[in-house]
């Protein structure tokens, strides 16, 4: 649905995006991750047709972003980092204006405005001036304007920024509900958001692609071993040797007041370990996976560490 090939963007001497390539399939949600000034916003601006690229190619639903910008703009909704709102307009008249410039036919405009208001739960502020509503509501008006023309593709630049925890959950749910019919790219600094909403990630740093793919595949490529952390009622160094005797286990170490038991990826030694502990009545208090969290994954990709 969205394909980016060898994209470059120069601002004067500054290379904001260098040789960026990735692809997002139809109906998927992908997260665009990276530190500040990594080129996330620039990439999104290029995809939406706001900025031209210096070199490279980008297509959305088969339309070339540079050759057929109007076709792309018609099927794309965009929520910029700074939500574009006219403070002196009411929520409803603003959405009506957006419906007009997004070229929704006059007969369907009213319905589209109503639908976007109810999707973003803006009923309570529809008649108020945008300058008088709270930050959270403004963000939701931003999402409403991006959805108003029922776009096939959504580009959301930090959609949950400035919202309170309850609203964040609401917006995440909204984004998840949109999945299926629409292809979505969102950028965020909240890594938990990615694991909860996204199918895959594109991680960029200093304008360069660091990694891209589904979360499982990325984790697998960075982690060679699986493992668990366990805590027993009574610890002790002597148990390390016991654990090492369990077939398949490669490595045992102590951490905090428990043990990290690791084995080669592909097997699953959890059953054996549990049985071993229960048979000896050691008192299993806690057992959790040592799988790479999104934070760890992100840091490893950005810093280039693999293990």
């Amino acid at each position: 649905m969205i394909e980016v090939e060898h994209l470059f963007k120069k601002y004067g001497d500054l290379l904001a995006v260098q040789d960026l390539s990735f692809a997002v399939e139809k109906g998927h949600i992908w997260g665009l991750l990276g530190p500040n000034a990594a080129g996330k916003t620039t990439t999104m601006r290029i995809l939406t047709g706001y900025l031209p690229a210096t070199d490279g190619k980008a297509t959305v639903a088969g339309y070339d972003v540079f050759e057929q910008p109007n076709e792309v703009k018609r099927i794309m909704g965009y929520l910029p980092e700074n939500v574009p709102l006219y403070p002196e307009m009411t929520v409803q008249s603003f959405l009506h204006f957006v419906a007009e410039i997004k070229q929704i036919p006059a007969s369907e405009r009213k319905k589209a405005v109503e639908k976007s208001i109810s999707l973003s739960t803006l009923e309570s502020v529809r008649g108020r001036l945008i300058k008088n509503i709270s930050r959270g509501f403004r963000q939701r008006v931003g999402i409403a304007q991006a959805l108003i023309h029922d776009p096939q593709v959504l580009i959301l630049d930090e959609p949950t920024i400035g919202l309170d925890p309850a609203q964040i959950i609401e917006i995440r749910q909204l984004i998840k509900n949109l999945k299926g019919e629409r292809t979505i790219i969102l950028s965020t600094h909240i890594l938990a958001e990615v694991t909860q909403t996204c199918d895959g990630v594109v991680i960029i740093n200093e304008g360069k692609l660091m990694a891209s793919g589904s979360l499982d595949v990325l984790t697998a490529s960075l982690q060679k071993r699986d493992g668990v952390f366990i805590r027993l009622r009574e610890g002790g160094e002597e148990k390390i040797e016991h654990f090492q005797n369990i077939p398949g286990v490669d490595n045992v170490s102590t951490r905090d007041d428990g043990y990290c038991i690791e084995w080669t990826r592909g097997k699953d030694s959890r059953d054996d370990i549990t049985r071993y502990i229960v048979e000896r009545k050691w008192g299993l208090l806690e057992m959790r996976s040592l799988a790479l969290g999104i934070e760890e994954l992100y840091l490893r990709v950005i810093t280039g560490r693999t293990e």
């Binding site: 939406t48 109007n70 965009y78 002196e88």
Partner: protein
């Protein structure tokens, strides 16, 4: 065309939901009234003096003695007010980052510019139309000719339209409204007084300066003389202003 209308409607609404349009209208109508009244009063007392001589009284003419100087004075008022109407048109979009919404919608730069320009032209038209009400007094107490007055108004409208195009160009250059207004103001003044320089110049230069100057073309129209050259002159200024605006916006996005 519906895109142009959408932008135009939004801008007209924003003129009238903010104080800008009301302030501009009030100041313009107040000053228009003041000039109109003082020139009429002067014309009245002058007529009294001339009343003793039937021949001179015959020569007294509202069209020639009141309207040309009224239009000239009012053009100076427009010079001050028009930068206030245009300064925010693009500067504010850029500052509030709302341009991102416009430029990522299926609507062309030309349509955006035209929509905004037509909205400012609408405010100018309202200003001029409301000021026309004062002329009722001229018709009640005298019998001026309508055509020269209309030509004079056309002159004011065309000159205002050219001012607006220059203002919109400066608004596209900067996100600072004060800078945009000051530059527009300076440029319009230069264009108005360019014919002063032509007095000192001679030959072809004199002709060129006279042609470029706003005043020379406006002068004809205040006297009720309608010449296509003058109309073409102002319209080409409008096109130049809008074309430059388009180039600025286009080039900004490519940088």
């Amino acid at each position: 065309m519906s895109n142009v209308w959408a932008v135009c409607k939004k801008e007209i609404k924003s003129y009238f939901t903010s104080p800008i349009a009301y302030v501009a209208l009030t100041v313009f109508l107040f000053l228009f009234g003041l000039f109109f009244q003082s020139i009429i009063l002067w014309f009245n007392s002058y007529s009294m003096q001339m009343a003793q001589n039937p021949y001179y009284l015959q020569q007294m003419n509202i069209n020639q003695m009141v309207y040309p100087s009224l239009f000239h004075n009012v053009s100076i008022v427009l010079l001050f007010l028009i930068p206030l109407l245009t300064m925010r048109l693009f500067s504010e979009e850029k500052k509030m980052k709302t341009d991102e919404l416009l430029y990522t919608s299926p609507i062309s730069i030309n349509q955006i510019i035209l929509g905004k320009y037509l909205a400012s032209l609408f405010v100018l038209s309202v200003m001029l139309m409301l000021s026309g009400i004062l002329s009722i007094f001229a018709f009640v107490y005298g019998n001026p000719e309508v055509k020269p007055i209309l030509v004079g108004y056309l002159g004011l409208f065309l000159m205002g339209a050219a001012f607006l195009a220059i203002g919109i160009f400066y608004s596209s250059l900067t996100e600072n409204q004060v800078v945009s207004a000051a530059l527009a103001f300076g440029t319009v003044i230069v264009l108005l007084i360019l014919n002063w320089a032509s007095i000192a110049a001679g030959g072809t230069l004199k002709e060129i300066l006279n042609y470029i100057s706003f005043t020379q073309h406006f002068d004809n129209m205040t006297k009720g003389i309608l010449d296509t050259t003058d109309i073409v002159y102002y319209i080409s200024f409008v096109f130049l202003g809008l074309f430059l605006t388009h180039s600025v916006i286009q080039s900004r996005r490519w940088r």
